[in-house]
Symmetry: C2
Subunit: 292 residues, 2 copies
């Protein structure tokens, strides 16, 4: 029994993966499915599995150097203050910087709005061997844009078709897509926003717009339910992670990413040059000294 199995009493990826008939209202943001551990145990698990994550990522990166097309794209979506930043800083900081491509999508610029909603997304799809992380994504274009009426219903509908085509296309090119919703309660959000106001060192993280969006909570949850229903696919699964307990959400996302990387079966690549011949060539330069 591995240490990870001691923390996880069940396969958390199976527990959190969205299936037929999924109902967001049935997910308790306070729950910690798959483990009976506490905060201390969660933090220990996060540290303990870092090497497992990094080892898989290194192999993924290495095999891309000789042409393997596989890469992973992790889409993070959530209400404000749900912990996306913490996931990046505590989970994805565990992989090598060379193997990570992080994009934080903001409100679209004028140029981005003048183009199709996928125009800014396409260039951010990770290259071979890389783990791409989207902090917000093209799903904003069917979430906030629906809730706040920034786009009419017919356009939202068109976007679902475009998202399906886009994700199918990049999956065919070797991108494994994992979509994760961090699910917090409105009470937990209020506490987190309050702590940003109470602590001067956190003031910069506070956005006055967050309270404005907050009152549309029910509309956002409806939009999430629809977005998940419309875009869940075998090649692009959704996971909904209870996120009121930060330690749980981080350990769960780490385990989901590890599990997805394992499914990709990365291997140390076989190189094409003649290793023995290179040893001879290198030995031929053994006398090199500088300054001579």
């Amino acid at each position: 029994m591995t240490m990870a199995q001691q923390f996880w009493t069940e396969d958390v990826t199976e527990l959190l993966r969205v299936r037929e008939g999924f109902d967001l209202r049935s997910v308790d943001p306070d729950a910690t499915p798959g483990t009976v551990a506490d905060k201390k145990g969660g933090q220990a698990e996060l540290a303990r599995s870092a090497q497992e994550l990094r080892g898989l990522q290194e192999k993924l990166f290495a095999q891309s150097r000789i042409g393997a097309p596989e890469r992973l794209l992790v889409v993070l979506q959530a209400m404000d203050a749900a912990g996306k930043g913490g996931i990046v800083n505590h989970v994805f900081s565990q992989v090598e910087p060379y193997g990570l491509a992080l994009t934080a999508f903001k409100s679209p610029t004028e140029e981005e709005r003048a183009n199709d909603f996928l125009w800014r997304v396409e260039p951010r799809v990770p290259g071979p061997g890389v783990i791409g992380v989207f902090d917000r994504s093209h799903y904003e274009d069917v979430l906030i844009q629906r809730v706040r009426g920034f786009a009419p219903p017919a356009e939202i509908e068109r976007r679902y078709g475009a998202i399906a085509d886009f994700e199918q296309r990049i999956a065919t090119a070797g991108v494994r897509i994992v979509k994760i919703m961090l699910h917090i309660s409105p009470e937990e959000q209020a506490e987190r926003l309050r702590s940003r106001l109470d602590e001067p060192e956190k003031h910069w993280k506070y956005n006055t717009g967050d309270v404005d969006e907050r009152v549309f909570w029910a509309d956002y949850m409806e939009a999430f339910q629809i977005a998940i229903d419309r875009s869940v696919a075998p090649h692009a699964p959704w996971y909904v992670v209870p996120a009121n307990a930060k330690w749980y959400a981080r350990a769960a996302v780490q385990r989901i990413v590890i599990s997805e990387l394992q499914a990709m079966r990365p291997e140390w690549p076989e190189v094409e040059f003649d290793v023995e011949a290179e040893k001879v060539r290198l030995a031929g330069t053994a006398g090199l000294r500088w300054p001579s």
Copy 2:
């Protein structure tokens, strides 16, 4: 006395900064100036100072959110296998992914060669609040290009003027520039290349071209000496770091980066919204429940 001071017996940034009359031949790649510690001590120092580095980086990032233009650009140059990758994976992995922009410059593509040598560099200058790291850089255009004659002398000369203008311009825009040469000996390089051939898990890191470049060692060192002489400036200093001992090079680069960040004096920003008014607005949404 801080823990860091226990490791560093002298100010390593002063010891390694290139000054008037610098002579590369006088730098011993085996030396570990500024400390009497060993590998174990170096690894401990690297872990111990991680929080100091991250704290500075977080402030730099935070203040940029309200408009501060400052950012740091770290240029890493070295012979193959000198440890640039290790510096990125062991030092720069300590900062938040949001605050790091890593660019590994490869051999120029056809499109890059069709443009000026700075064409591909300009878009990779880090944005406000971010630590940019160049694994290789525009200095390749006056190093390998000089040594291998890919560009004629007049063009190399023109590039020195262009580099000076470029670095002056971005410094004026708020970019603190730090240029670091990791300095290994040809004997140490041979050992590292050999280990890449001996260990199948490292085969992918081996490049058959490395042996070809290796025989031009003296020419490369001459090109480095000229590049450093021609581009050292108060706003864009060079540091030459003895790098035969990986633990030393990593601790030294970490300390140089910390020192440069300290000199930038990043501060938690004062926000412009009314904190007390926001607390009231937020409290007004305290009754929010979902599902209702």
